[in-house]
């Protein structure tokens, strides 16, 4: 019993450390605040994979009553601790990701045309910006065949990610 409590405490302090380290990277003024526009990056760097909508909701919890453009650490820490403890927004397993691509591949070709992917990514769901789209295409499109071999792409990305 005591052991489990100890390990829970150790886990919390480990989580606190992770959150603090990630926050500090973006705390340019060394005053325990970060620009609100960087919060998404911070949260994602903590192994969370929220959608934009989920991120928006999270921000609402963290932001000040009157938004100042800055997020304070005092509000960030407790919210993020809860998120990490509850294991919210876990990353997506490789096979689920692959299935998502397969869904978009209507004709079951085994690949996607750049135009197809662009259409979905820029028009569906939570659309990409042009910059995001370009960046994804630059890595995903096979230069010889000019298509996205999504199976290889997913495989490659998840390896590099680890």
């Amino acid at each position: 019993m005591a052991e489990e409590k100890e390990s829970a405490e150790a886990m919390i302090s480990e989580i606190h450390k992770q959150i603090t380290d990630a926050f500090d990277v973006f705390d340019h003024e060394f005053n325990k605040t970060v620009d609100v526009r960087e919060v998404g990056t911070i949260i994602r760097s903590l192994s969370c994979c929220p959608s934009e909508g989920e991120l928006h909701d999270l921000l609402a919890e963290i932001e000040e009553e009157e938004p100042t453009g800055y997020i304070r650490f005092e509000k960030f820490l407790p919210t993020m601790t809860k998120v990490l403890m509850e294991r919210r927004y876990r990353p997506i397993p490789e096979d689920v990701l692959l299935q998502a691509f397969e869904v978009l591949d209507q004709e079951k070709k085994g690949h996607l045309e750049p135009e197809e992917l662009t259409k979905y990514m820029s028009e569906e769901g939570e659309p990409f910006t042009q910059e995001e789209m370009e960046e994804m295409l630059s890595a995903a499109v096979d230069p010889d065949k000019n298509v996205i071999l999504y199976k290889d792409y997913v495989g490659m990305m998840t390896v590099e990610d680890n």
Binding site: I43, S45, E126, M136
Partner: protein, 754 residues
């Protein structure tokens, strides 16, 4: 089980989430089987969101890696500039003691002095350049003066195609004309955005020609309709500094009212020795390189110090201090200040030398005031920690600096001129002087003369210029010495506000610091940093940017990034490359301080396990190297199964390529650490840039250097070393070869070779 912990176990949640997602897709896929063509809109949306979610997280992780890499580069860069501090104080030491080395070798020491300016008249010099022959076979651009657009076009074309270098004759003539032109300019240039002209302001270029060409491509060439201000640091680090200044000076002469150059801290011949410009010139111009460099010294010192637009926007390279006085600055004879690292001298004529020799043999009766203001400032550097190998220079210097009033207060300095400091020591020999003022270097004469006083006006002027070219903004209020750089200040928002108010200015535009996005605002938007060399640290490290300013004086920013490879690298690849490079640099730095680091690690390793915790490892590294490392520099070391650091592993992947057997390991480490400084000193001694210096010169230089730093090196070992490097026994040393021996090879590099 029922212990009340609210934390769900990982596998449980993962399982349930997976199940949920699977269920979703399973049910949907069934439907998909029924309608083989388009997925239902709901399904497509879900799939899209999933992919987008995942991708954004992936990109965020790359961004984090990019930032860690960035902070490593910056830490190393600023730590490197601290080394500059060491070197400059050594020069001061040399200058102060040059007569007393007379017994050993007057030439050696006189070579450290500025070459006396050539008494040749300007017209004679022009005629001399005219006589330099350009062969008919020379395919490059040919210049004649006054320059025309055809000339600048020819230059741009030639440099773009990376053909021929501009012939030395034209370089000399161009520099000659530039010097003549710059002489007529005031220290502070005033511009106006009349006729709805937009002025383009660019920051550091550092020899990156591709960036300059990209700016011209995006923004148009300089012309009467398209004025430019270039805010210093055109040279050093990049490989095309020569081309850049040729282009900039050519446009300067062509459009004198619409092309403006500010001096940067790298427009300085001693900086150029260290950071590559001197080398580049000597490599590209073997016969005339030295003459070009001499002429450049004058040209650099004649560059204006600041530009003001519409009386509202101040543009300087570095920044300001709480003492910055624009009116005073306007009155200075700027050409006297050739280098920030060598304080101005009253005169270089022999009469002064006579005086010095006469006073030889006397113990110091008075100490002069802080006429070597550079050292005074530098001795206030509290960051030079004793653990850096020299025997507590910082402790002595910080005690000295506390007994000397801060160099900021110039009025105190005037009083100082006529009194001794509280402990009777010369305030500037903060390292190697024992209380009696006697030097500890064995072969020097035993007495020291204090050099005659220089009026404090020069000191004040000096400080004004150095502050302008070297300072950095900081976030807290106040104005403190810039210990990282070794010159200038850190100025806070209050300093900015005061200055802007005093001169009724709206904002300050400066450069001097690399920024990831090419520009950055601080001090509540009143200070803008603009940096125009993209990929400064490494391919992919940062963007470059320039500002366009119209009559409304609202800055518009334009960013770009030059890409070397024809196939565009993904962000992931660029970050990986930058990361690898940063880690390599860091590893080399660790290697250079190996024994101190090991001692520091051992202090934490009480049970002698060979491991320390990650935070202890980071603390040890930080204290020895004075680097502020991000936590994630972990790829440098091997971790034990329990997560602790096997600290010896960070030295494993490096080895010296050609070990010199005669050299003991500790000497190797010392030589490796100071190799950059040694290279600079050797280059200064090597007047004809032949790559060779005499054995005697090598020995003396090394002895001086090591005694100045209180590095304990056995003199006999140095003698042996000198003799052994003189491979052909002709009494001269090829120091480039010598330094090559201390280049380290990274394990991965050598793997690739095989």
């Amino acid at each position: 089980m029922g212990c009340g912990t609210s934390v769900a176990t990982e596998s449980q949640t993962k399982q349930s989430e997976k199940e949920l997602t699977y269920k979703l897709f399973y049910s949907i896929t069934q439907r998909a089987d029924e309608s083989p063509k388009a997925p239902s809109p709901a399904l497509a949306m879900k799939a899209a969101v999933l992919i987008q979610r995942w991708y954004r997280r992936y990109m965020a992780r790359i961004e984090i890696r990019r930032r860690y890499t960035w902070s490593i580069f910056q830490s190393i860069e600023y730590a490197g500039e601290q080394d500059q501090l060491q070197l400059s104080s050594f020069f001061t030491f040399m200058l102060d003691n040059f007569t007393h080395l007379g017994g050993a070798s007057p030439d050696l020491i006189s070579q450290f002095l500025d070459p006396t300016s050539d008494p040749m008249e300007e017209e004679d010099r022009a005629a001399k350049y005219e006589k330099i022959e350009v062969p008919d076979s020379y395919p490059g651009p040919r210049l004649s003066f006054p320059l025309t657009v055809a000339h600048t076009n020819a230059l741009l074309k030639a440099f773009k195609q990376q053909q021929q270098h501009l012939h030395a004759r034209y370089v000399l003539q161009l520099l000659h004309e530039t010097k003549k032109f710059l002489k007529k300019l005031p220290n502070i240039i005033h511009l106006s955005t009349s006729y709805t002209k937009e002025i383009t302001i660019c920051g550091d270029l550092h020899g990156k020609l591709d960036d300059l060409l990209l700016i011209f491509y995006k923004n148009g060439l300089p012309s009467i309709e398209n004025p430019y201000v270039f805010n210093g640091d055109f040279v050093d680090r990049g490989k095309k500094s020569v081309e850049i200044i040729i282009i900039l000076f050519a446009f300067l002469l062509l459009y004198p009212n619409d092309m403006h150059l500010n001096r940067g801290n790298h427009e300085d011949h001693i900086m150029n020795l260290r950071y590559g410009f001197t080398k580049e010139v000597m490599q590209k111009y073997r016969s005339h390189g030295r003459e070009i460099l001499l002429l450049l010294q004058d040209v650099f010192s004649l560059l204006p110090l600041a530009t003001i637009i519409d009386n509202k926007v101040l543009i300087v390279h570095g920044g300001v201090s709480d003492m910055t006085d624009l009116d005073y600055l306007a009155s200075i004879e700027r050409h006297k200040f050739k280098s920030a690292l060598r304080p101005p001298r009253m005169s270089i004529d022999s009469s002064q030398d006579e005086d010095k020799r006469k006073t030889k043999g006397q113990l110091p009766a008075q100490s002069s005031g802080g006429h070597r203001s550079i050292s005074t400032r530098y001795s206030g550097n509290h960051l030079m920690k004793p653990s850096s190998g020299a025997s507590s220079p910082s402790s002595s210097s910080s005690s000295l600096s506390s007994s000397i009033p801060k160099s900021h207060r110039m009025s105190d300095a005037q009083e100082k001129d006529t009194s001794t400091t509280s402990n009777g020591q010369h305030p500037l020999h903060h390292r190697s002087i024992s209380p009696a003022g006697i030097l500890e270097v064995p072969f020097l004469d035993s007495d020291v003369t204090i050099t005659p006083r220089v009026p404090s006006r020069e000191e004040m002027e000096w400080k004004q210029i150095v502050d302008l070219l070297w300072s950095d903004p900081k976030n807290q209020n106040g104005c403190s010495p810039n210990s990282f750089r070794g010159g200038g200040c850190y100025f806070g928002p209050d300093v900015t506000l005061t200055l802007l108010k005093k001169y009724q200015l709206k904002m300050l535009i400066r450069s001097h610091e690399c920024k990831q996005e090419g520009y950055e605002l601080c001090h509540d938007g009143q200070v803008i940093t603009i940096f125009s060399a993209s990929n400064y640290y490494e391919e992919g490290s940062n963007r470059g940017a320039y500002i366009k300013l119209g009559p409304d004086l609202v800055p518009r920013f334009f960013q770009y990034q030059v890409s070397k490879s024809t196939r565009r690298m993904t962000l992931q690849q660029r970050v990986s490359v930058a990361e690898g490079s940063a880690l390599k640099s860091l590893r080399e730095k660790l290697y250079a301080h190996r024994s101190e680091l090991i001692a520091a690690f051992k202090q934490y390793d009480t049970y002698n396990t060979g491991t320390v915790s990650t935070s202890d490892w980071a603390s040890a590294v930080e204290s020895v190297l004075c680097l502020d490392l991000p936590e994630d520099a972990m790829p440098l070391v091997r971790l034990a199964p329990d997560g602790s650091v096997e600290y010896l592993s960070c030295f494993e992947d490096l080895h010296m390529e050609q070990p010199i057997k005669e050299v003991t390991p500790s000497l190797v480490e010392t030589l490796y650490r100071y190799r950059t400084d040694l290279e600079i000193i050797f280059n200064m001694i090597d007047k004809d840039h032949s790559g060779l210096i005499s054995i005697e010169e090598f020995r003396q230089t090394w002895r001086l250097f090591s005694s100045h730093l209180h590095v304990h090196v056995d003199n006999a070992a140095i003698d042996d070393l000198a003799r052994s490097i003189d491979f052909n026994k002709d009494g001269s040393i090829d120091f480039n070869e010598f330094l090559e021996a201390f280049r380290v090879v990274h394990k991965l590099d050598s793997k690739e070779k095989h």
